[in-house]
Symmetry: C2
Subunit: 196 residues, 2 copies
């Protein structure tokens, strides 16, 4: 199991001893996810915090008309979960799907709770992770209410610089809340202005 | 300063020594808020986690048509903040107002950050508080999308049992997302069914 990336990710917020690193990584499970495979479906309870080491996941919800709304992408070095379901252990509303062949490390709810007891520093790590999630969800909600689509696209580029040139256009369109057709028109306009 | 209630509130999740209790309470500021006085306005940065010891606060947002949407109530023993603004220290979208003469204890952002360093157990306390906030916000969003108004009212009663009989009807109506007129009709129907 390659745990370099996840240990670097954690070192952004807390410092672990080699023993603590070993204890933490012993709690992880590795999983390979095929393109279009679902890690979680609406109505299921989310049992894992998922960390991406290769590939890309996305979370989305389906509205009453069967229209997809992308909530988040998770390229390598990102965590993803249906936070509501993971915390409450109630059925969630999100799907989590692989956009390409993806490698993940899974931390189960039980192991995460044990981690808080065994290595209390992880309280800080996940407190900060939850805060970031809450802030970015709220920011997206505000963006959707108040910003034009071009600005929402700019925020997407800031948040996911590695994805701008490799994600299918329809996924980016869904994330910023426009149709693929409108997105194509908008990109032509953006490129026209850039080339002037 | 009466700190009994806030120390009991904290003891629900973490155990403090008498010295830690004293250090924590030394970081609090006390404030009296008049009825209809604003603790926070839209566009301001939320600088405090606010704990209510007497009275009642509410948080709400204003939409483009000037219509109020109640986000949360905070009777005694509740914490309230514009979490997005408090965490990000960016301008928020919420108003926080006193519904009656209210006494609060304020923990500033700076003191809360210092608390994480001085007494790391508070990482756990606020991690749990943020999780509860995230879950209940998400639950309200789901309720609004999927439940009829009577069920949303039932959830309000479960969440705030002490407020059912003392809040103005229009505040409860705003929380569950109906007009005061619709709320009155609905309550007549609820009471008619109950008395059968």
């Amino acid at each position: 199991m390659d745990t370099n990336l996840i240990l670097q990710n954690i070192a952004k917020h807390i410092q672990l001893t080699p023993e603590e690193q070993a204890h933490f990584t012993s709690m992880l499970a590795q999983k390979s996810v095929k393109r279009k495979e679902m890690l979680l479906q609406e109505g299921e309870v989310c049992r894992y915090s998922t960390f991406v080491t290769q590939g890309c996941l996305r979370s989305y919800s389906l509205d009453h008309n069967g229209f997809e709304h992308v909530m988040a992408f998770a390229p390598p070095d990102w965590w993803i979960a249906d936070m509501y379901s993971f915390i409450s252990q109630k059925p969630g509303m999100l799907f989590i799907e692989a956009l390409e062949p993806t490698e993940v490390l899974l931390l189960s709810k039980e192991n995460q709770e044990r981690l808080y007891v065994d290595i209390p520093k992880f309280e800080r790590f996940f407190r900060i992770l939850i805060e970031k999630s809450l802030v970015s969800n709220q920011q997206r909600l505000l963006d959707g209410l108040s910003l034009p689509a071009q600005e929402r696209f700019r925020h997407f580029c800031q948040r996911y610089p590695s994805l701008v040139n490799c994600l299918p256009k329809k996924q980016i369109a869904s994330y910023i809340g426009v149709t693929p057709e409108f997105f194509s028109k908008m990109m032509k306009e953006v490129n026209r202005l850039r080339s002037k």
